[in-house]
Symmetry: C2
Subunit: 405 residues, 2 copies
């Protein structure tokens, strides 16, 4: 089937109308920053002018600001297979990772007295995960082991925490959350999943898979806006003995008693830290409306078809595809290797096709099944072909590295 | 002079027009959440619809999102006596405190080999400061000492870090930043100031006072919006050896090189953590316009006069004023003790006068010299008198404790 036929048969095609997409742009970077969902602008205006402007400090009660992190956390929970009361929104993924990793080491420590195990993390994962693991390792006196093979690492027998990314940010490789969690548990380790490149792109089953802790961002496939709050998931069985290091007053059992000593709130509320950035938080809330009534199985099915379609085109054009081809090992972006990745992407963006680059030589194209069409991908492949065939990308103006790519 | 005369003579009176204040409300809780500055709503709409909606991920470069934390940090810097390049905006005060306290202990450790000193903090300060000090103490194996008398504590001779609040959130007591910093340095300690209840209400002189580290929030006197990003100040002399524990990728020397190991950015950029909540960040940016051309000495002068005016009225009404009367020891809010503080404030709010309560028995009234008038205060005192005289506050509907007060 060609792109037009695939689009005609796409049950998710109507979801595109839930987003505001600019004319003349094919947007394949929703895995970095998702497109703007329709309801956000008006909702945020109401938050600013009516809630903040008129209700002032009363907004914390009257407009539900105080409860927003748990309420929005639960909305995210429905997209990751988490029953209510286990997910809370706030802070950045980096901050959540620090909190989760520290708590995970302590959790494992408390149940395996005398063990002094290592933190195992993904050699190819997003850098911040490794940086935070190193920082936590330094503070708690634990070695950090980076490996491409978590199953082999678990056989060391001294793994306290396995911190892994569901989808590799560079290659798009998808890991088996359930299988790897089981293997970690069999080895006596606590798992911390980084869901950044998976949440919103596929069904996840954190409860079913017996995951301990997870974090994720909301500005990629969830389209929550630039730097929208991250989230943390804490399995209910761990909540009441979880000792998070970021003991901000929002996570206190009685935050308004203003007590001198910290007593963590029962339940997921202890995952709260300081006062959350409410405008970004409520923009995320509005953005999540884009998922109302959407079946994540359908999202995943379309995402895989989009990936297949793109890979077929990339194969035809002679690209080296570094993303796994097997559907069960593939997330929702496809990466191509090209020695001139940076200028090629710069020329592509100038021509209206937005993807991104990961150093040194990876062209990355993300597919959001809610708003990307097969037609988008066909046109992107066509423009990519033109950019390469013309050699235009070699022009000087494309050699400049932007701050952010 | 009566309120009308004082208002007529107020050089800051025109600044009130920079804010959107609802009719029928006297707002004396800007020390909890500042009122809405005029430019925010339209600016944020542009950020959402044009920058995010149209520019999409290109906003990080084209709309200056990437540079926003340092740029906005420098704007805050002008209000705290910090030369450019020492202040960065982001995260919550709690997160910034954790980062600053940990780094402060390490800083002191690195220069005083073999010392294993304590963290001294304010017994009466905002709880999150104590909670985070405890958490850092636990991670780094340092005792935390809470004291009402920092000068006495410094005489212990084993103080690694003095973490203190410029203005006490409960009583409104103002501390001498310069004097206490000098005393701490004489004792070999590193200082971390919490500026939450001072920034925007008075001139601060962090560079002149030789402060080491400081954090603060922007949603009180800076009116940045609910949960708007906090900031951290790091004196230039410490920056390049500061070892912050929250090693998020935004603070890396080459964030887009995606290197596996963390190398802190030179300068204040290392104070960045994860991807910042850009909508809240840019709302703060717009809000700071309210301070354009404003002389903080004039703000302080009016704030003190507002305080005097209010204290005089409270004295007349027979209240116990727990805020210090000496101008040099008084911040920008005044606290009254009343055994029925909670229902009294509930009744007051119903009558259109918004202050807040701090447990167990403190009525708190904050004065923002940019938008509060002497007329506001006269009316607030009048309503307070009515509420008390009528005994109305004893009615059942005022006994219910809201989630947030």
């Amino acid at each position: 089937m060609d792109a037009a036929e695939l689009d005609a048969a796409d049950p998710l095609a109507p979801a595109r109308a839930r987003f505001v997409l600019p004319d003349g742009v094919i947007y394949l970077d929703g895995n970095s920053l998702g497109a703007l969902p329709g309801p956000v602008a008006d909702r945020l205006r109401d938050v600013v002018t009516r809630q903040w402007g008129r209700d002032l400090v009363r907004g914390w009660n009257d407009d539900g600001w105080w409860a927003a992190p748990e309420r929005i956390g639960d909305r995210v929970g429905t997209l990751i297979g988490a029953a209510p009361g286990q997910t809370v929104a706030g802070d950045s993924t980096s901050v959540q990772l620090f909190n989760a990793l520290t708590a995970a080491v302590r959790l494992q420590e408390s149940r395996e007295a005398g063990r002094d195990g290592v933190i195992v993390t993904d050699a190819g994962q997003f850098p911040t995960d490794g940086y935070l693991a190193d920082s936590v390792g330094r503070l708690l006196g634990r070695e950090v082991v980076r490996t491409p093979d978590p199953y082999a690492a678990l056989r060391r027998g001294d793994v306290a925490v396995l911190a892994w990314s569901t989808v590799d940010f560079r290659t798009g490789q998808l890991w088996d959350t359930g299988g790897l969690t089981r293997a970690a548990h069999d080895a006596g380790a606590v798992v911390v999943w980084d869901l950044c490149h998976a949440v919103g792109a596929m069904p996840l089953h954190l409860d079913r898979d017996d995951v301990d802790l997870a974090v994720g961002c909301t500005y990629k496939f969830l389209s929550g806006g630039p730097g929208s709050p991250a989230f943390i998931y804490v399995a209910r069985r761990h909540q009441d003995r979880l000792e998070l290091p970021l003991t901000g007053w929002n996570g206190h059992a009685q935050p308004f008693a203003m007590e001198p000593g910290y007593q963590a709130a029962p339940g997921i509320a202890r995952g709260r830290i300081g006062t959350p950035p409410m405008l970004s938080m409520l923009a995320l809330d509005a953005a999540l409306d884009a998922f109302d009534g959407i079946d994540l199985a359908a999202v995943r099915a379309k995402s895989l078809r989009l990936g297949e379609f793109f890979i077929a085109g990339a194969d035809e054009a002679g690209f080296e595809v570094i993303t796994p081809r097997a559907p069960e090992r593939r997330g929702s972006h496809v990466s191509l290797r090209h020695p001139d990745a940076l200028p090629v992407m710069a020329a592509l963006i100038e021509a209206g096709v937005i993807g991104d680059v990961r150093p040194p030589d990876v062209l990355r194209f993300g597919f959001n099944a809610l708003y990307n069409s097969f037609g988008d991908l066909a046109r992107a492949l066509e423009v990519l072909g033109e950019v390469l065939a013309s050699g235009r990308y070699a022009e000087a103006r494309f050699q400049v590295r932007p701050t952010v790519t």
